[in-house]
Symmetry: C2
Subunit: 265 residues, 2 copies
């Protein structure tokens, strides 16, 4: 064992680097829901999506596509279908990130010569969904490093069939989330996350710690809500989550995905 | 329209920033499959996972957990279950990233008072899968900014039931991917990605361009393979993808997820 060596768990004295400019950027992330009337250039978009493409991808399948929507009328229609959030109309570029097994199947078809093909498995739904999320998060980080801001929009799944038709999404493609992109007009305060011990386990899942730390977070989230609302709201996280889970949401997802050719087996 | 304004598509003259230290870091990403015999400190791990936690999360559900595996015997068992890849044993920390709706349900339960609860929908499977991928990608970027390297391991889904049992994963938790973490011993060359036009569409899905650009990529990937294998291999991307799609892989995923309480409806 060399002198440089330092066991995990005793890292304090190691002097190993724990800070970087990039980590500082990541730690400052907040969602942006108000945008300046200032465009994003095509070069910026290319740099951002290009950085997204450098994220890891399962066996190089690159099973995603992203639709950059800049036409105001189309943006309005998408906003209408995605929960009528004003910032979708306001942002200069609305990105619709899609899991895409269509391109993969089409590219592969000439080599398959009629052999069975497994793009339609639940495994490949997961592969494509992870692929698009990794690329999108890289793109989000790239955008923020250029002084731009983003917010993810799960609302693209509200009326997923209508939205997919509007964008001409073929079989084996589904919109996973949207992303507003633009220069921020104002910055929100940081929202505290669950304590590290709620999400980070060592050598096995610790159910007790996970649930106990979620209780600790209730207090943290109450303080945050009180501050943010000037004392008007102090609902703890667990109560907000219970409210969310008690509402049926996007119940059409299973049938929609099956109808698009995903997770047939 | 102010003078500063510049329409997307004509961005060249805008002078808008397209480069940053963080983008340079993202553009240098390659998977690392050989690690130095040098540990990752607990402080580094906390910084990396903490940066992961700052990624966006759907309605603040934070529906993920990560298991840091450092015990050599456990790491060996996981390597055995994940395709026997030597780097899983070799890396100082093996992270198993899990979609986690269990903590959410447990935290919510006291507020629900027996009301129906929708954590078991296909929608929430997608939410949790996206949540864990966004956090993991932030963590990957954070790690690389500290001079560490990573590789994603889809192989944790090879024998997903056995691996889940080994880690004590409860209901509504599934391992989405692993991630080897450590100091790189050697760096791979950059692997070229699909042309931007294959993945970036404007104001609607362009199926023709997507497929055509995949053909362009065949040539690019052949050049890359030739260089990497000293002329031994020049299989185009589409042929590799066809081979991949023609193999049944992880066919147990649907039943496993159903058995864990996911996508019941």
């Amino acid at each position: 064992m060399s002198e440089e060596r330092n066991e995990p768990g005793t890292g304090g004295a190691s002097g190993a680097q724990t800070e970087s400019e990039t980590i500082s950027l990541l730690m400052k992330h907040t969602s942006v829901r108000q945008f300046q009337d200032r465009p994003v250039s095509e070069e910026q978009l290319a740099a951002i999506i290009g950085a997204g493409q450098m994220a890891s991808t399962s066996s190089n399948v690159q099973a995603y596509s992203v639709i950059a929507v800049t036409e105001p009328a189309l943006k309005s229609q998408l906003a209408e279908l995605s929960g009528k959030q004003a910032y979708i109309e306001q942002c200069p570029v609305f990105l619709v990130w899609c899991a895409d097994l269509y391109r993969l199947r089409e590219a592969s078809a000439p080599h398959l010569q009629g052999a069975d093909s497994y793009e339609d498995t639940t495994e490949n739904l997961i592969v494509a969904t992870v692929d698009v999320a990794l690329a999108a998060q890289n793109a989000a980080v790239a955008a923020e490093s250029l002084g731009l801001g983003i917010v993810y929009i799960g609302g693209v799944r509200n009326q997923i069939a209508e939205l997919s038709e509007l964008l001409g999404l073929p079989e084996l493609v589904y919109p996973v989330f949207g992303m507003c992109l633009g220069y921020p007009a104002g910055v929100n305060g940081l929202r505290p996350r669950l304590p590290l011990q709620a999400v980070l386990h060592h050598n096995g899942y610790n159910a007790e710690a996970a649930v106990q730390q979620a209780e600790v977070y209730d207090g943290i989230s109450q303080d945050y809500m009180r501050k943010r609302t000037g004392g008007q709201n102090d609902t703890p996280w667990s109560a907000m989550m219970a409210h969310r889970l008690s509402q049926p949401a996007r119940m059409q997802m299973k049938d929609f995905l099956l109808g698009k050719g995903f997770m047939q087996r």
